[in-house]
C-alpha cells in the first residue's frame, strides 16, 4: 500500500462525506420544517449519529489504515547503503560509504533500499524527492534518517521544501538511480 493509494482512498472518502453534508444542507435550506426540534429524537439523529458515531467510525478506520501504511514505510532491515546528506545555503552534498562525495547529484542503486542520513550546516532545509519518498527536514545539530528506494533506473527531481532564504526557490538537486551492479561513474563525477 503506497502513499498515492492512501491519497486516492482519502479523496474518495472526502468526496462522499462532503457530498453527504452538502446534500443535507441543500435539503435543510429548501425544506419547510415544523420547528419541531424539541423532539429528543432529532438531536439524537443529528448530533448522536451524524455528529458523533459517523466520524468516529470513519476516522478510526482511517487512523488504523494510516498507521499501518506509515509503519510499512519505515526502514526495515539493513539498507544496501547509507549516504550522508548535508544541506546548506544553497547546495546539497552527498557522501557515500566509499568516502567519495558529490554535490547536486545523488546517485543510488535502483531496486535497493538506501538510507539517507540528513543534516544541515546553517539553517533548516527539507529534503524532498516527490517521486521517491516523503520529506525529511535537514536540521543543524541533528541527523534524520530517511529510507528511499527507486524501483527502476532513472532521474528524479528533488527540491528543498523548507524556506531557507533568498536562494530557496533554486535549492534543488537530482537523484540518479543506476542499475544495480553497475555502479560505475559515481566516483568520476564526484566534485
Amino acid at each position: 500500500m503506497r502513499v498515492a493509494d492512501l491519497w486516492w482512498w482519502m479523496l474518495g472518502g472526502s468526496a462522499i462525506l462532503s457530498a453527504l453534508v452538502f446534500i443535507l444542507l441543500l435539503i435543510a435550506l429548501r425544506r419547510r420544517g415544523a420547528a419541531d426540534n424539541r423532539q429528543p429524537g432529532r438531536t439524537r439523529v443529528w448530533i448522536g449519529w451524524l455528529g458523533l458515531v459517523m466520524p468516529v467510525g470513519v476516522l478510526m478506520v482511517l487512523l488504523a489504515f494510516a498507521l499501518w501504511v506509515g509503519q510499512r514505510n519505515l526502514p526495515v532491515g539493513p539498507a544496501a547503503q547509507t549516504v550522508q546528506v548535508t544541506a546548506f545555503n544553497y547546495g546539497w552534498e552527498f557522501c557515500y560509504e566509499d568516502g567519495s562525495c558529490s554535490q547536486g547529484v545523488l546517485r543510488i542503486p535502483a531496486g535497493q533500499p538506501v538510507d539517507l542520513d540528513i543534516t544541515a550546516t546553517d539553517v533548516i532545509h527539507s529534503l524532498w524527492i516527490p517521486r521517491l519518498a516523503g520529506k525529511m527536514d535537514a536540521i543543524p545539530g541533528q541527523v534524520n534518517r530517511l529510507r528511499i528506494e527507486a524501483d527502476a533506473p532513472g532521474t528524479f527531481e528533488a527540491v528543498c521544501a523548507e524556506y531557507c532564504g533568498v536562494g530557496h526557490a533554486d535549492h534543488r538537486f537530482v537523484v540518479e538511480a543506476y542499475a544495480a551492479g553497475a555502479p560505475a561513474g559515481r566516483t568520476e563525477a564526484a566534485e
Binding site: G134, A161, G165
Partner: protein, 825 residues
C-alpha cells in the same frame, strides 16, 4: 425617576469625553470594540494587498515582478498580518463590542485594560507597518524558524521587528483574554446561570481560556529568540547546546490552539445567527457546549502535527496524528447541529445566509483536507507545499472570514442602526466565493504536483503555469469582492434607512437596546429566566429603557453594572467601573518605549522603561477602590447589594488569578524548554564540571516561607496585615537575593552554553516574579495606610497574596532546579 432624566444622566456618566481628549481617553467597550474591528479591517486590507503582490509574482513562471529578497518580506508579512494583526484583533473587537451587550451588562470587567490593549495593538502594528515601508520587514516566514531568523542569517532588524512588534500586540490579546473570561463569569444579567448563557458566551469563554494558556508559549519563544539575537544567549544554536526545534515546539504549542482561537468565535457567531435565520432554537445546546470545551482541550494536544517531518519517531507521531484526527469530531458535532437546526426550522435566505452557505462549502472542504494532513505518511508528502497553503486558507477563510462576513451583515444594523441599502452585498458574495475557490481549489493540485511553499519563482517545465495563472485570476476576483463589501458597509453606514429595534427577531439581549446603542447599553439591567429573554418578553427593550430593570439609577456619577454569582447568576454586588482615562494611553506609550529601545538596540534605556512601566501600573491600580464605601445599594426590584469594594471574590481578584495562570504557563514552558534542551539538544552536557549547591536554594526557601506565612497572618488577622505585608515583601526580597547569589556564584556566563542561558533565563523570570510579588505587598501596605484597605474591604490583601505566593513559588522551583542540576550534569 423621570425616564428622560435617567437617560440624560446615564449619557453624561458613560459617554466619552468630548473632542480630541475623548479619542485618547475613551475606555468604552462600544467605542474600543469598533476601533479594534476597524483597525483589524485596515490590516486585512494591507494583508490583502500583499497577497495580490504574491499572486502577481506567481502568475507566470520566471516572473520579473519582484526578487527573492522582497518576496520574502511580502509572504512573511502577509501571514503575520493576517494572523496577528487581523484575525486575533478582529475576534477581540467582536467580543469586546458584543459581550457586555449579549450578557446584559454595561461594560467589560476592566474598561481601562480594553483601552490599553487597543493602544498596544495599534503601536505594535504600526511598528510592523513602518518596517514594511522601510524595506526591513521580517522575511523568515510567518513562523520565523531559527536559525534562519537568528542573528547570523538575518543580521538586520527584520526578525527583531517581528519578535518585538508581535509581542507588543500579544499584550492586548492576553489583556482581552483575561477581561473576556472575568466578564463572562461575573458580569451577566440577573439570574443568568451558566446554562442560560447565550451560546456565543460559551464560545468566547472557551476562546479566552485558550488564549490565556496558548499565547504564553509564543511570548516566551519570542523573548528567548530576541534575547539570543540581542545578547547572544544560545537557546536555539545547536553548536552551543541549543536546539532550533525548541522554537518549533514553543511556536506550535501556541500556533495550533491559535487556529481554534480564531475559529471558535466565528463558530459562536454561526451558532447565534443560524437559529435566528431558521426561526427555531439551536438543537443540542448542551452537546455544542461540550463539543466546544472538548475542542479547546484537544487543540493543545496536537501541535506536533506541524512537525511530522522533523525526525520525531513514527509511533510518537501516531499519537499526535490520532489527536489531530479526533479534533474533527467536536467540529462534526457542530456542523450537523447547525444543519439539523436549519432542517427543523424554516430558513430565511437573507444576506448573512449566503455567507453561511459559503462557510459550509469552504470549511467542510478545508476540514476534510485537514484530516488528510493529520495522516502522517500523506503529510510527509504534501507538507510545506501549496497543498498546505490551500488547506490553511480553506480552514481560516472558511472558518473565520466567511462567518465574520455573515456576522458583519447580521450585526451592522445594531452598530449603525441602519438597514442595508442595495444588493451590492450579493454581488460581493459571489465575487468572494467564486474568487476564493478559483484561487485555492486547484492549489491543492499544484501542491500535489510538487510546488513547494514560499518559492518566488518556478520553472516553465514544472507544468504549474496554468494552475498558478488561474489562482492569480481568482485572487484578483476576491479582491474586487472584498472591495465591494467595504463599499457596501460604507453605503449602509451613510445611506441606510433607520432600522426598527430587533430587525431579525432574534432572542438575545443585544437586541433589547436602542440601535445604535447608547454608551451605557441598558438604562436598567435585565433579569432573565431562559436562554431566549426576548421571546419571554417581547417588550423587554422598552421595559429596560423605562428603567424597570435593575440599577436603573444614576447616582454620584458612578459607572455601575451588576456582578453575579459565577454559577447561578444570582445578583451578588454592584461593580463600579472606572471612567475615561488617559492612563491606558500613557502606559502603552511607556511599553512602546521599552519595545523601541530594544528594537533600536539602545539596551541601557530598556530598564528605564521597565521601571516606568512599574510606576504606571502602580498609579493605575492606585486609582481604583475607595476610602468610603457607600454601603449596600438599592439596585431596584427589591435587591439591596453591596458594592464591589466590600466583596471577597472581587473582579480584580479573579483577574489576578487568571494573569498568574498565564504567567505560570509561560514559566512551565520555560521549564519544559530547559529539560527539552537537556534531553534532546546536541552538545550536552556543557563542558566543565558542575556540582550541586544547596545554600542558596535554602535561602530562597526561607524567604518564600516568610513571604507565604506573613501574608497568611495578615489575611487571618487584619491588625497584623500592615506588618505582614512588609514581612512578605522582605521574604520576596530575600528570595531574590538567594536566586541572584546562586546564579552569580554557580552559573557560567549565559553566552557560554544553552545550559547557562536557560539557567539565567529561569533566574531572571523568578526574580521578576518575586519583584512583582514584593511590589504587590508594598502596594497593599500603602493602601492600608491610606484607608483603602480596611477589615471590611480586605480583598486587595488576597489579591496581593496571589502575586507574592506565586512569585516565591516560582523562585523555590527555580532555585532547587538549578541547585540540583549541577549534580546530574
Amino acid at each position: 425617576m423621570n425616564v428622560i432624566q435617567l437617560h440624560h444622566d446615564l449619557t453624561r456618566i458613560w459617554n466619552n469625553e468630548p473632542g480630541w481628549r475623548g479619542v485618547f481617553s475613551s475606555v468604552s467597550h462600544t467605542t474600543l470594540g469598533k476601533r479594534f474591528m476597524i483597525t483589524a479591517a485596515v490590516f486585512f486590507g494591507i494583508g490583502g494587498v500583499l497577497a495580490m503582490l504574491i499572486r502577481a509574482q506567481l502568475a507566470t513562471p520566471a516572473s520579473a515582478f519582484t526578487g527573492p529578497e522582497v518576496y520574502g518580506q511580502i509572504f512573511t508579512m502577509h501571514g503575520s498580518i493576517m494572523m496577528f494583526l487581523f484575525a486575533i484583533p478582529m475576534l477581540e473587537g467582536f467580543a469586546i463590542y458584543l459581550l457586555p451587550k449579549i450578557l446584559g451588562a454595561r461594560d467589560l470587567a476592566y474598561p481601562r485594560l480594553t483601552a490599553l490593549g487597543w493602544w498596544c495593538y495599534l503601536f505594535g502594528g504600526t511598528i510592523m507597518l513602518l518596517a514594511l515601508l522601510g524595506g526591513v520587514a521580517p522575511d523568515a516566514g510567518w513562523f520565523l524558524y531559527p536559525p534562519l531568523s537568528g542573528k547570523e542569517f538575518t543580521p538586520g532588524v527584520n526578525s527583531d521587528v517581528w519578535l518585538l512588534g508581535i509581542t507588543f500586540v500579544e499584550i492586548s490579546a492576553l489583556a482581552a483574554a483575561i477581561e473576556i473570561t472575568v466578564t463572562i463569569l461575573k458580569f451577566r444579567a440577573a439570574n443568568m446561570s451558566l446554562t442560560k448563557m447565550p451560546i456565543l458566551a460559551w464560545y468566547l469563554l472557551a476562546t479566552a481560556g485558550m488564549m490565556i494558556f496558548g499565547f504564553p508559549p509564543l511570548i516566551l519563544g519570542s523573548i528567548l529568540l530576541e534575547v539570543e539575537r540581542a545578547f547572544g544567549w544560545p537557546f536555539f544554536q545547536p553548536e552551543l547546546g541549543g536546539s532550533p526545534l525548541l522554537w518549533q515546539h514553543l511556536f506550535w504549542l501556541f500556533g495550533h490552539p491559535e487556529v481554534y482561537i480564531i475559529f471558535l468565535p466565528a463558530a459562536g457567531a454561526l451558532s447565534t445567527i443560524i437559529p435566528v435565520m431558521a426561526r427555531t432554537p439551536l438543537i443540542g445546546y448542551g452537546a455544542i457546549v461540550t463539543a466546544v470545551m472538548a475542542l479547546a482541550f484537544l487543540s493543545f494536544g496536537l501541535w506536533v502535527h506541524h512537525m511530522f517531518t522533523t525526525g520525531i519517531p513514527h509511533m510518537a507521531l501516531g499519537f499526535f496524528s490520532a489527536a489531530s484526527v479526533l479534533v474533527a469530531i467536536p467540529t462534526a458535532v457542530q456542523i450537523f447541529a447547525w444543519i439539523g437546526t436549519m432542517w427543523a426550522g424554516r430558513p430565511k435566505f437573507t444576506l448573512p445566509m449566503y455567507y453561511i452557505v459559503g462557510f459550509f462549502v469552504v470549511f467542510v472542504l478545508g476540514g476534510l483536507t485537514g484530516v488528510m494532513l493529520a495522516i502522517v505518511p500523506f503529510d510527509q508528502q504534501v507538507h510545506d507545499t501549496a497543498f498546505v497553503t490551500a488547506h490553511l486558507h480553506y480552514v481560516l477563510v472558511g472558518g473565520f472570514v466567511f462567518p465574520m462576513l455573515a456576522a458583519a451583515y447580521y450585526w451592522m444594523p445594531h452598530v449603525t442602526g441602519r438597514t442595508r441599502v442595495m444588493r451590492v452585498g450579493i454581488a460581493a458574495f459571489w465575487l468572494i466565493f467564486i474568487g476564493f475557490n478559483l484561487t485555492f481549489l486547484q492549489m491543492h493540485l499544484t501542491g500535489l504536483l510538487g510546488m513547494p511553499r514560499r518559492v518566488y519563482t518556478y520553472p516553465v517545465e514544472a507544468g504549474w503555469t496554468l494552475l498558478n495563472l488561474t489562482s492569480s485570476v481568482g485572487a484578483f476576483m476576491q479582491a474586487f469582492g472584498f472591495g465591494l463589501f467595504a463599499l457596501d458597509i460604507a453605503l449602509q453606514r451613510r445611506l441606510g434607512k433607520p432600522t426598527r429595534r430587533d430587525p431579525w427577531e432574534a432572542e438575545t439581549l443585544e437586541w433589547a437596546m436602542p440601535t445604535p446603542p447608547p454608551q451605557y447599553n441598558f438604562a436598567s439591567l435585565p433579569t432573565v429566566s431562559s436562554r431566549e429573554p426576548l421571546s419571554d418578553n417581547r417588550r423587554i427593550g422598552v421595559d429596560l429603557a423605562a428603567g424597570k430593570g435593575l440599577l436603573g439609577r444614576a447616582i454620584g456619577g458612578r459607572r455601575e453594572t451588576l456582578a453575579v454569582d459565577i454559577v447561578t447568576g444570582a445578583p451578588e454586588h454592584v461593580a463600579i467601573l472606572p471612567g475615561s482615562s488617559l492612563t491606558p494611553l500613557f502606559t502603552a506609550l511607556v511599553f512602546g518605549g521599552f519595545f523601541m529601545s530594544m528594537l533600536l538596540g539602545i539596551y541601557w534605556l530598556a530598564p528605564v522603561f521597565i521601571v516606568g512601566a512599574a510606576v504606571m501600573i502602580w498609579r493605575w491600580v492606585a486609582t481604583t477602590g475607595t476610602t468610603h464605601d457607600p454601603g449596600p445599594v438599592d439596585a431596584g426590584n427589591g435587591y439591596y447589594l453591596p458594592t464591589g469594594f466590600a466583596i471577597r471574590g472581587s473582579v480584580g481578584y479573579w483577574g489576578s488569578v487568571l494573569a498568574v495562570a498565564a504567567s505560570g504557563t509561560l514559566f512551565a514552558s520555560l521549564v519544559f524548554g530547559y529539560f527539552f534542551l537537556w534531553v534532546v539538544a546536541p552538545n550536552w552536557p556543557p563542558p566543565g564540571a558542575f556540582g550541586a549547591y544547596l545554600l542558596e536554594p535554602i535561602i530562597v526557601t526561607a524567604g518564600a516561607l516568610l513571604a507565604v506565612v506573613a501574608a497568611r497572618l495578615g489575611l487571618r488577622n487584619f491588625d497584623r496585615s500592615r506588618s505582614g505585608a512588609i514581612a512578605a515583601a522582605a521574604g520576596s526580597a530575600l528570595a531574590i537575593a538567594g536566586l541572584l547569589a546562586g546564579a552569580i556564584r554557580h552559573l557560567p556566563e549565559p553566552t557560554f552554553h544553552a545550559f547557562a542561558a536557560t539557567g539565567w533565563a529561569l533566574t531572571g523570570f523568578a526574580v521578576f516574579s518575586c519583584a512583582v510579588g514584593a511590589l504587590a505587598q508594598l502596594f497593599v501596605h500603602r493602601r492600608i495606610a491610606s484607608g483603602h484597605v480596611i477589615a471590611q474591604r480586605p480583598h486587595e490583601l488576597r489579591t496581593a497574596a496571589v502575586w507574592s505566593d506565586y512569585g516565591v513559588g516560582v523562585a523555590v522551583v527555580v532555585a532547587w532546579l538549578l541547585g540540583l542540576s549541577g549534580a546530574a550534569l
